[in-house]
Assembly symmetry: C2
Amino acid sequence: MRQPFSFTFYVASWYRKSPYWERTVEAGCTSWDVYNHMLIPTLYDDDEVEYRHLLEHVTLWDVAVERQVEITGPDAARFTQLLTCRDLSRCEVMQCKYAPIIAPHGGIVNDPILLRLAEDRFWLSLADSDALLYCLGVQAFAGLDVEIREPDVSPLQVQGPKSKYVIRDLFGEEVASLRYYRCWEGDLDGIPVVVSRTGWSGEVGFEIYLCDSSRGLELWDRVMEAGRPYRIRPIAPSDQRRIEAGIFNYGNDMTIEDTPFHVTGMERLVEFSADFIGRPALERVAERGVDRKLVGVEIGGEPFRLWLEDFWPVRRDGETVGKLTSASYSFRLRRNIGYAWVPIGLAEPGNELELLSPDGPVPAVTASLPFLDPTKEIPRS
Amino acid sequence: MRQPFSFTFYVASWYRKSPYWERTVEAGCTSWDVYNHMLIPTLYDDDEVEYRHLLEHVTLWDVAVERQVEITGPDAARFTQLLTCRDLSRCEVMQCKYAPIIAPHGGIVNDPILLRLAEDRFWLSLADSDALLYCLGVQAFAGLDVEIREPDVSPLQVQGPKSKYVIRDLFGEEVASLRYYRCWEGDLDGIPVVVSRTGWSGEVGFEIYLCDSSRGLELWDRVMEAGRPYRIRPIAPSDQRRIEAGIFNYGNDMTIEDTPFHVTGMERLVEFSADFIGRPALERVAERGVDRKLVGVEIGGEPFRLWLEDFWPVRRDGETVGKLTSASYSFRLRRNIGYAWVPIGLAEPGNELELLSPDGPVPAVTASLPFLDPTKEIPRS
């Protein structure tokens, strides 16, 4: 397939730069995206080279764009529970949850990783939407005593099979042995950080949340130094790898128009044992069922280059019935894979579709998720 | 000054394209920005050529990125009043207001143009933040009967001294004679639109809000055709012109961290005759005063190229006391102008500052706003 349309982009003061910016430029980053009003590296090298390195060694990602919403105060636990369809009564201190934020009508506001750092201190590590504003809106009339802010936190991801060794050499055995979706708070010779056993790759991985942006270059250098024996290298988040793993990209695959019941694999995240905003709306959806679904698709045609430039219409019997939202070439499966919105009647695996690419029709078939089993030890929490 | 850092940007499905996209490419647009998760043209030609055309003729801007929040329902007026510090009891149907949206702590969530299209139907024409999410958050516990959504609306701006003739030839004398900050709803041979006498240029201008994105190319072509006798051409929003006019860029000049009392010229927008979210916080700010202010600055050194790449530290007596947020070369004033955050003690015009550019110190002096008087007939409403 053709590579996406490209043009010259001029950096401007209205995009916030990561505290790791200089190092990503020095490391040869050639392209960035805009995410949460910040620049995020999207390509250093050939995307297959980056993908292979992630699978075999260890990689460092500048994901300072994962902005945090911090909720503190006496009512922090009650307030945070209002925001998400996950049941937080079972969320221990230093535990993380994949926690969709739900609007009054049931739509997904954001799909952050929630970190419970204390009984009354929560972080939402955001995907690409200003969920801070949603939280401030809820605060207006919730009648709860909380403080809500974006703290000075800038995450890195350390992903790949050797990431454990890097984390061990930096933080010790205890941190390297964190269970999935658990976190730790401390410092690296005085650099304040939180470390969580999470990531956006489907590989073994960690996130290091830097809590003082003035020390970004120092932290980057420490991680690169500790990773040298394990061949660490900076890469961009891999669209190929996340699609293989069945991971979604908020704002692209699903939006505020969709509920968790509309997205394959997100249904189980709705826990009606909890009380939250949008619960009545989601109860209605659960009862009535959905009329469309985001599903996996295997796609014919030439291998995709990089990522999808724009949604493609999904057709069946000559009628447009949905849209393709993501597509990449899986270097291991040796085929194109992606996600598409289809009518509920076509949501089961094995339904044949036609995709309307800018260069003409391309055949596709619905598929079960994930495309590749995640590393055995990675259950999503 | 050096031109901002640039790189190759690849379009991706996670950026929404404007319904005018194809026409902007055909018209020779060479660079885009990301704004409200969409692509907006930022450069077609030389920026001085675009600026001169805006001052002398008429120009067409693709500003589909100005997403709307639509608030309807029996309690729409009460709900919308909760969101903004403007007193909407004085806002008539088909009137517009520059209406900052205020968070519980008094910070600015967004600074949209509000359009009252009916007693119980409002649009917020947004700057760059997901204020839709803020509105949905407020809805959760406000106890008011409203519907909130992003409608299918994609604005164009028609700006420049000849814009009146283009609007007259398209929509008739009545629409061309709209008073400032008034709007009209109707259609152009069946293409549903709203037209308002507003804009981001300080020149005479209008916005045409297309209400059916499937008809974008058709509307674009109609406007270009009607504008031909007046030498209409597509340009990007002009950073030079908006700074001359004392117009701010939300997310860049001011953010959720700032209240209207912190921004020169926005103080008068806080109307305590109204009851709104954040009013107690703003009353405290009004009483205590602010410790810092966004002010105009005239800047020495070489002429700026395009726009500011990143904030520059503002220094006084060798200490960093603030930051420069915007800077452009005014082709008419023949000097660099911009905005900077300074301690309140330096907010009056005439205070000398030192800016720390990447190439070394540059002198600056605080200045009154606007830098150039707006067209006489343009009071901001």
